[in-house]
Subunit: 340 residues, 3 copies
């Protein structure tokens, strides 16, 4: 069920690729490369990569003209090898070179609704059916994809790309080169409620959201505005799809959070953390730098030491799992009367 | 707090209903049916069904004029019985007949923005405030509900229904009769990042999403485009709301995935699988045909045998649960020193 | 990384604030207040509050001119104290007074598409790029934020605020003063499928969604329409972001459900329940009034007694957690042969 990779415009000589990436080439520099591909899908005139050792078996069988590989795999390449200490980073740089994101096409689509009191730089692209509110500031190089909404007083930094149907609430601020995928909601009200005489009273959410340079926000991810102060993402924070960041969270530089993870209010996550998918992180916690949370974990206490943490349980056949559940309920009897 | 069911246009004789569905009727074929309803809500001139045995007690008390039931429940119907081996399938066919989805109303709403280089069939309906990008292809019978966005070069197959505010990214392709609910995002970038000198470098996502005929995609569900090759859904794949499908997943024909489940990258799920709600499925796995995953499970290993799998833990009173948590931490002492 | 709070228009004397809130003031009533702030961020002429005892240490160090505190903390305030039995409720009321939500600006934006057969009250505000379908009814005081869609025959009660890019499906009905955050989808089809001869057959979803007065619906939350009868939220129900409510659920008055929780079909949740984040609640259950579900729990059985329930497991260092997982697999051997 696979396609055969992505074709580039024109072609590149392998020697030029090695030179551009600063990699050592084992093979003929004159070979022409037309396209990038996977190890299994690539054919002649295509380049591929090996980063995940799980796919090493595919390397021996590849028909790719060249493969970016770690040093220890150079000898296994049927074709040319580009030796890289960090093959995946080299691959990312190669794609950046061969398939750069398109630049903004400056101008405002006639169907967009830009408030007269908004400031839209002449170098920004405002796509069809976008709305830019009063006092908003859209910087040069920005692309607002179709159906995006930028609230009153919001600031969109230079070269941001909102792919389409993004919502940025009033007064929220994005740094430079922030990428926001469709359906993301930045700056909805935080979930602030006070029980008052038997009914909920809404606590006005007066803060905003501040996002640093080079962040990426996934599709349908939500980041709530702060209650009083702001919700803050540092620089180079990378959120996958359907992540939920509650009010007044702070997420440190270079932290990556995978899909479907939710973070409750006022939790501070350090720098260079990695949170896997579908985790739940309770509110008012401190997570130190370089903490790694494995998938489907419930983080209910602060973390003060770097390292890996988790509480996910691997699924197994239901009969075996149900037996364990029964045993869990009976654990106490093993400990004897009065045991603690 | 219940309504009294859904009224149809005109009425149908019970005999005609039995004939249309190919069911055996126990009762008077001349009875007129005006509406469908639940066992508890239906009254005279209404038809209902029993599929879930949990509701069998309601059958004896129903005031419905007729009920579609499995053979073993025919004797319990106070009114007429329509005997069906598969009562829920019969019910689905009945509703299809009585309440067919409305056909497309061909034409392009004046507020829609259709690129001159898009191809929109004369038999397609483009609703208010939609955007169709250059090179996109919208087939006959398609309904694009209000606010939907179809990217450059995307293909929307015949008779697809995008209910409104759907996003289909560049070059993504939907088969025929695909239903996409509001807020779904098909074709955002996959979550591809390479650490490079202390910062994340984005890995360009060059693939697309391909969806087969007769799939249904729930509200606010996200399906990312592949990194190089495509993310692929087979035919008749049914995703509920808020499902997340990461880049390069492949989901086999007739597989159904319930709400809030997330699937990490490059995992392949077989045909006729059923995944319950709020599961997390790790990346790079193979799940065979007819695997059933129960709710809130974490799937971290490939599955090679059909059957039921799980790791969800039923909630219980907190005092009891906390006692189990304490015992979990103490398990080691039961196994004695040096035990493995 | 903090801002310095939210400034109000003009200023208020502390005595007036105490009077408005009905609180006992310990301090100089003539002090002027310009802004609200956090305990750590507030400075002179600012007011703050203490509700969560976890932040009590911050109280002693605050530079706020005044703090709303519970009676037992009055003596710890460096500045003035406003004594409140329910400090968080008092704070909510203060913000409501100082920062009221803006009223509707009646009128229909020229870019909005309102069907001629819709009824939009003269006192409603229809924002840019909204769509209101035929037969829809939009009441006085309503704000439809940019990009919102109101389906055919839907009813939006007085003073509702749809913040932007909200989807309300055909025939769904919102009570008065309902707040809906961006990306929410109210009234997508329920997930109704019947297996019929080896393929899924869609079960038409004929019900709608009915939402009572004073509810709040979070960003990217989804509430499906009922299969036959309606999905129903009572009054003052508060849903956070990315909550999923399946078809025919009923949620009782004053119940609050935190982010990323999913509720399967036909489950009835009582009044004054509190469900924490990232829970999964199975279908066809009954949850009684005043049940409290802790975070990341899987609720698979009905709950008949008020109180706290849970099954979430706190994350710990992976080595320790993996040891527990091994022990879980070995539990049976502790119970001896033939044990149950």
């Amino acid at each position: 069920m696979s396609d055969s990779g992505a074709t580039i415009t024109g072609s590149r000589r392998l020697g030029d690729i090695a030179g551009h990436l600063g990699l050592r080439l084992h093979g003929d520099p004159a070979v022409e490369i037309d396209a990038v591909g996977t190890l299994t899908g690539a054919g002649q005139r295509q380049i591929s990569f090996l980063a995940n050792p799980a796919y090493r078996k595919q390397l021996a069988a590849t028909r790719a003209a060249a493969v970016i590989v770690p040093p220890e795999a150079v000898g296994d390449c049927p074709g040319a090898a580009l030796e890289a200490d960090e093959p995946y980073a080299a691959w990312a740089r190669l794609l950046e070179w061969l398939h750069p994101p398109r630049p903004a096409r400056p101008g405002i689509d006639p169907s967009a609704v830009v408030d007269p009191a908004a400031r839209v730089d002449d170098g920004a692209e405002i796509g069809p059916l976008c709305h830019v509110g009063p006092g908003a500031d859209v910087s040069p190089g920005v692309i607002l994809g179709p159906g995006s909404i930028v609230g009153a007083g919001a600031v969109i930094g230079a070269d941001c790309r909102l792919l389409g149907r993004v919502f940025v609430g009033d007064r929220c601020r994005l740094g430079r080169r922030v990428i926001v995928h469709p359906g993301a909601v930045i700056g909805a009200d935080g979930y602030g409620l006070a029980m008052d005489g038997g009914r909920w009273r809404k606590v006005a959410q007066l803060g905003a959201v501040r996002i640093g340079d080079d962040c990426e926000i996934g599709a349908n991810t939500t980041i709530d505005r702060g209650a009083i102060d702001d919700t803050v993402l540092g620089v180079d924070v990378r959120l996958d799809n359907q992540v939920q960041v509650a009010h007044n969270c702070e997420i440190g530089d270079h932290t990556a959070i995978a899909g479907c993870t939710g973070i409750a209010g006022s939790t501070r996550i350090g720098r260079y953390c990695m949170v896997a998918g579908a985790c739940g992180i309770a509110g008012h916690l401190e997570i130190c730098d370089r903490a790694i949370i494995t998938g489907m974990s419930a983080v209910t206490n602060s973390i003060h030491q770097p390292g890996r943490y988790g509480s996910g349980i691997p699924a197994r056949p239901m009969r075996a799992w149900q037996r364990i559940l029964v045993r869990l309920s009976q654990l106490d009897r093993l400990f004897g009367p009065g045991a603690r």
